[in-house]
Subunit: 487 residues, 2 copies
């Protein structure tokens, strides 16, 4: 793999967040533009993050009892039309296959934008009795939505995701499943990706097309804009009725099934970058870093090099034995300083520096990617390196979460006055989360969106029960909602 890196400076994050973001993605070799409109290439360093993320989430999903399956890429156009809201939501952005094997098809096939329709068509054939329920499947796949304005990882015509689809015998069970998966997503994203979240339900306007209720986890990016990181939908009986998913209950009565669907996508890679990255480049949580520790040997004379490299090799071995994903950067003809910058750009959480003086003192220098200045560096005896590194990686994971948590807190503001809200959203930057009482009237939500470009990101669950007045109309309101400009 190409190791070179061009030496133009990365656009400073504070100066041009979007430019900074693109620089990071391209320079850390996470992804590249492709010649196909709106489609990107996931390069090995980017895909490795997705693999780490996917494998862990897959384990957590399977623990809930769902099993993986795989359904066709293509969906007959007529299927999409069976659920009224669903087709309205997705029809404008589909890609259609009209020719196969050189001949025009009788009915165009839609490249799946999401798989509710094809999966529920199959569910109708597999579900006959209450004994067939719950039916819980998940698939990891590519989906296509013909987006007009695309952005690396965040909004691409083709993206990768997992989509879970379940059917249950009762409304209560399906509602419970919706919230179970919401919690799986929340704990996964907070623990594994170190991204703090707001958890809540969506307003009617922001719901998934075809859902009775959509729940969401929302993160706040480094520019103060929100990013939807995952959603879990309670579908009620909407698809069950559209696709005739019926089962005989214990009293031998035919009933429609109750359903859910839930998904997260490669957008999460964008969230990792935008929450943790800084002007030096990517900062990866150790959990998802394919290289957690890089060892950089430092020497000038070749005769020094031999001893330094030998010791570096020993340390690598000790770390590998301790289960650490470690890499020794023994490249010739590249200065230590270049290597430092290179691995900082690529987000490696911890660097070990070792030179002749360290050899003499029996110590090595550890440099954390999550901190700056003198506190980022510490010395540790070689013999203690493996133990110390494992502890530090845990600490870096916590520290990244903590830094992001504090950044989100700083950018979360309560407003009781609509003019203040407007002012905040008009100012520099994304505007952060605005927490406001909202009466629930779509007209008030629309006014906020049109006048401030902030949308209702989430209505948090388990509110305190306090009451107030809607920030727009002043009518009584019993819930606070998080509004923000969003990706």
């Amino acid at each position: 793999m190409a190791e070179k890196q061009d030496d133009r400076k990365v656009t400073p994050r504070s100066q041009d967040f979007a430019g900074w973001y693109n620089d990071i993605v391209l320079r850390a070799e996470l992804a590249d533009y492709s010649p196909v409109r709106g489609c990107i290439v996931f390069r090995p360093d980017g895909f490795a993050i997705w693999e780490a993320l996917r494998d862990e989430l897959d384990r957590r999903i399977k623990r809930t009892g769902a099993r993986n399956a795989y359904f066709p890429l293509f969906i007959p156009q007529s299927f999409l039309r069976k659920e009224a809201q669903h087709v309205e939501g997705f029809a404008p952005e589909v890609a259609a296959v009209t020719h196969g094997g050189g001949e025009e098809l009788e009915e165009p096939l839609i490249v799946r934008p999401t798989s509710e329709t094809i999966i529920n068509h199959m569910f109708a054939q597999w579900i006959h009795s209450y004994r067939d329920l719950p039916l819980m499947v998940n698939q990891w796949c590519n989906v296509v939505r013909w987006e007009m304005r695309t952005r690396l990882f965040l909004r691409t015509a083709e993206f990768l995701w997992q989509e879970g689809h379940t059917a249950h015998a009762s409304r209560e069970e399906a509602e419970r499943e919706t919230l179970t998966m919401l919690e799986v997503y929340r704990s996964f994203v907070e623990e594994f990706l170190a991204i703090p979240l707001i958890v809540g339900r969506k307003s009617a306007a922001e719901r998934f097309p075809g859902a009775d209720e959509t729940y969401t986890i929302e993160g706040l990016m480094g520019d103060g804009r929100a990013l939807q990181c995952g959603t879990s939908h309670f579908l009620g009986q909407n698809f069950a009725k559209a696709f005739e998913i019926k089962y005989l209950d214990e009293q031998n009565q035919l009933q429609y099934a109750w359903q859910t669907s839930w998904g997260v996508s490669t957008r999460l890679l964008g969230a990792i970058i935008m929450v943790h990255g800084d002007d030096q480049g990517l900062r990866l949580p150790p959990t998802v870093a394919s290289t957690q520790v890089v060892i950089v040997p430092i020497y000038r004379k070749p005769e020094e090099g031999e001893a330094v490299l030998a010791k570096a090799g020993e340390i690598r071995e000790a770390l590998e034995k301790a289960g650490v994903r470690v890499r020794l950067d023994a490249r010739d003809g590249v200065s230590p300083g270049f290597k430092f910058n290179d691995w900082e750009m690529r987000g490696v959480p911890l660097r070990i520096e070792i030179g002749p003086r360290d050899l003499a003192s029996g110590e090595v220098v550890l440099a954390r990617r999550d901190l700056k200045g003198p506190e980022a560096k510490s010395k540790v005896p070689v013999a203690a390196a493996a133990t110390k590194v494992s502890a530090l990686l845990d600490d870096i994971q916590r520290s990244l979460y903590q830094q992001a948590r504090e950044a989100m807190s700083r950018e979360t503001r309560e407003f009781a006055n609509y003019a203040d809200l407007k002012k905040q959203m008009e100012g520099e930057g994304g505007g952060g989360f605005a927490v406001v009482f909202w009466c629930g009237n779509p007209a008030c939500e629309t006014r906020i969106r049109e006048e401030t470009r902030a949308t209702c990101r989430a209505i948090p669950l388990n509110q305190s029960g306090s009451h107030g007045n809607c920030i727009v109309c002043g009518n009584p309101a019993s819930e606070r909602a998080h509004f923000a400009k969003a990706y």
Copy 2:
């Protein structure tokens, strides 16, 4: 998940192999037909086999130094045309997207039938110098080929596979990579899937469109027909020239890169079924079985049940601790005999039976899926069950391979006389492998294909060096080839 199973008999394998095969796939709930022409649904029990297979092969591929990436699903039509043989091979069977977001596209997009063109377009941008080589990427993805005659797992319009693509600085290195991957495939399929293989190169007529040389691993199915289980292609500089993949060598001269590509697909699921299955159903190698051991409790009176289930639970726990994938079938209202049949159909390698008499004697019965009659069963003290089970699973893996190896040997015949070859291929069944001297002349190969329907499956590597006469024309021939009717 639905556990029920209809009670129609499976079509006997010896009577109607194709009918037997479909019965197994559907009744073991591995896959289902979909409403989309030529596309199938991978149900959880089938997909679990693919996951086990994929995870192991992925580890082996990564060990060679290749890294995973992901390239766009869509390929501009003009890309496919850049390599003359490639377009000729794939153009007739592509699916084309002509509309996106409600509008007609300027240039149709091809749904990838394989990704040489799009990947090599990117390679051309990433490769500049010999320091960028070798570049070795792999992707796991879906591909689409508009097949007219489809068959569950074996030939479907959409299928899943991995495709590796590499670029090297020298012809020798690329040739070595081609053979390295061939060996990765061979050892993987023989060791992990317990499928014996013939390994060799393809004739010019059977080569991948765009390759200078194609190497193959070929298995022999239960009906005497061959199945290509994986291929590794030496692409020479064909795509490098079509896509301008050039690098500066150490002498600062521009050179075209040398390339390979290699892949295996969900066809392998078909191979597992057709090599190992019998009239009772699937027989899964323990390596790929998501349930390796099923415990079936046997009792009539409820008061017996309690003690039996308690002991069965203990055994399950002991097996889980030993790393065995075990399941306790405690279903009520279903007889032990029904459960035996059900799990035999699903291919579970080992069954543990436990009843009141076993409790009294402190033993359990182990029943192997790979053997028939009395030798399939043995008794083992409960305390020794975990150790014995692990050893038995290893033995079952070996035994399945051995049985398949013997079946392949029985169905592999040398022919020196063309009339005998014809007769063999005309008879009942698939005809097996015919090993014949072939002069290498495509005309002789064509005659065999047209008159016997057998094609040249592989020309084995490392032949003994003996010489003979071409079975068709009688001219001197220095190599033997394996011919067979094939899927």
